[in-house]
């Protein structure tokens, strides 16, 4: 036991003797959440790009790549590979057994057709998702960047509107002039966005898929609000990023608890 620890224990003993009155104490804690994925085998991480679709107001692929790279630079011990974003939609059209080049009909043809248009929904995305299982493709990508952990996936950012009863708080002043807040239910038309994100982690040395996570977040605003798509996208990504980071590295969640005598 070090001298400092002994001193702390002694002062704790004195404090526990003196503080005999209170029966509970609020204390700050930091809960470590262990990473879901063991990335100790990797020194580098390559955010390769995403199959993205939904609204054309933003480029979900580029925005997500930029955001995740900047987050990993500051909050992860892995070195972030600064390379071009992969043209996944194009590549998915020409690789694997279901690739559009190899076949002339069925899902492949649909993929080829969709490649010329836009990805609007999950069904459109599914046409390209076979690329995540193409180990040869990812191994080739990995070899170009010294076998990093590859992060890829799908992004679907779609406009959404909803109408119905909503509870909100209204400030009222009673006859005595006192302010108070009361809940009111009212019918509202609201609009916003839904962000559906699937992140796939691939071993750049073998091309094998290691892990995947899927999240869905939505934000609705008052019909009269003119929240830009990009602002909403970042609001939704704010919810998702801590979960993404907790997959790769141990995160500490700050909070407080009550200790009782």
């Amino acid at each position: 036991m070090t001298g400092r620890t002994s001193l702390l224990l002694l002062s704790a003993a004195v404090a526990s003797t003196l503080a005999g009155c209170a029966s509970f104490y609020e204390i700050p804690i930091e809960t470590p959440i262990a990473a879901k994925l063991d990335v100790s085998a990797f020194q580098r991480v390559y955010i390769a790009g995403f199959l993205s679709g939904g609204t054309s107001d933003i480029d979900g692929n580029l925005e997500t790549v930029r955001l995740l790279r900047s987050q990993l630079r500051t909050k992860s011990s892995l070195r972030v590979v600064d390379a071009d974003v992969l043209p996944l939609i194009k590549d998915a059209g020409g690789t694997g057994p279901q690739g559009a080049q190899g076949l002339g009909a069925g899902p492949a043809a649909e993929a080829r057709q969709a490649a010329t248009g836009e990805i609007r929904n999950e069904k459109d995305l599914q046409l390209y998702e076979h690329i995540f299982g193409d180990a040869e493709y990812w191994k080739r990508v990995g070899e170009e960047h010294q076998g990093p952990l590859i992060v890829t996936g799908t992004i679907l950012f779609t406009p959404h509107s909803q109408s119905g009863m909503v509870q909100r708080e209204r400030e009222v002043i009673d006859p005595l002039g006192r302010r108070r807040v009361e809940p009111v239910r009212e019918y509202m038309e609201r609009k916003g966005f839904i962000l559906q994100e699937k992140i796939v982690f691939i071993d750049g040395r073998t091309g094998a898929q290691l892990h995947s996570e899927a999240w869905r977040e939505e934000r609705l605003y008052n019909q009269n609000d003119t929240t830009p798509a990009l602002s909403s996208f970042f609001e939704l990504m704010d919810e998702i990023i801590p979960r993404f980071l907790s997959t790769l590295s141990t995160q500490r969640v700050r909070g407080s608890r009550v200790l009782i005598k």
């Binding site: 702390l8 224990l9 704790a12 204390i27 809960t31 969640v253 909070g255 608890r257 200790l259 009782i260």
Partner: protein
């Protein structure tokens, strides 16, 4: 003999009470010391004290609550869940334990959210 029996029963009851009171006061001393060291960041020592308290006085809900908080801080989430459940089983109406447990579950659920291997 007949008049001695109530006296013996009373003595046993009294002695039982004293033993229980001793266990509770010993456990309470451990709990208080644990709180004091936790407030100074010595969580391992605090955990040891609260573990001792639960051994000395197993129906002491506060000791289990604090033990749960200690486990949470150390990232031993399964043990924390067990300790919170023990505390709530002993004192189901304790609002502070309930609040701690609710906050704990929020973090625990978040860490286990949607994963598709």
């Amino acid at each position: 003999m007949r008049c001695r029996l109530p006296v013996i029963v009373a003595l046993i009851a009294l002695l039982g009470g004293v033993v229980y009171a001793d266990a509770r006061s010993d456990a309470r001393a451990q709990v208080e010391f644990g709180i004091a060291v936790a407030q100074r960041g010595l969580w391992k020592e605090a955990l040891y004290r609260w573990e001792r308290a639960t051994q000395i006085d197993p129906p002491y809900a506060a000791a289990f609550n604090n033990l749960a908080v200690g486990y949470e801080h150390e990232g031993q989430l399964d043990k924390a869940a067990d300790a919170y459940e023990r505390a709530l089983k002993l004192e189901p109406e304790n609002a502070m334990v309930r609040q701690n447990f609710e906050l704990f579950k929020e973090i625990h659920d978040r860490s286990n959210q949607s994963s598709t291997p």
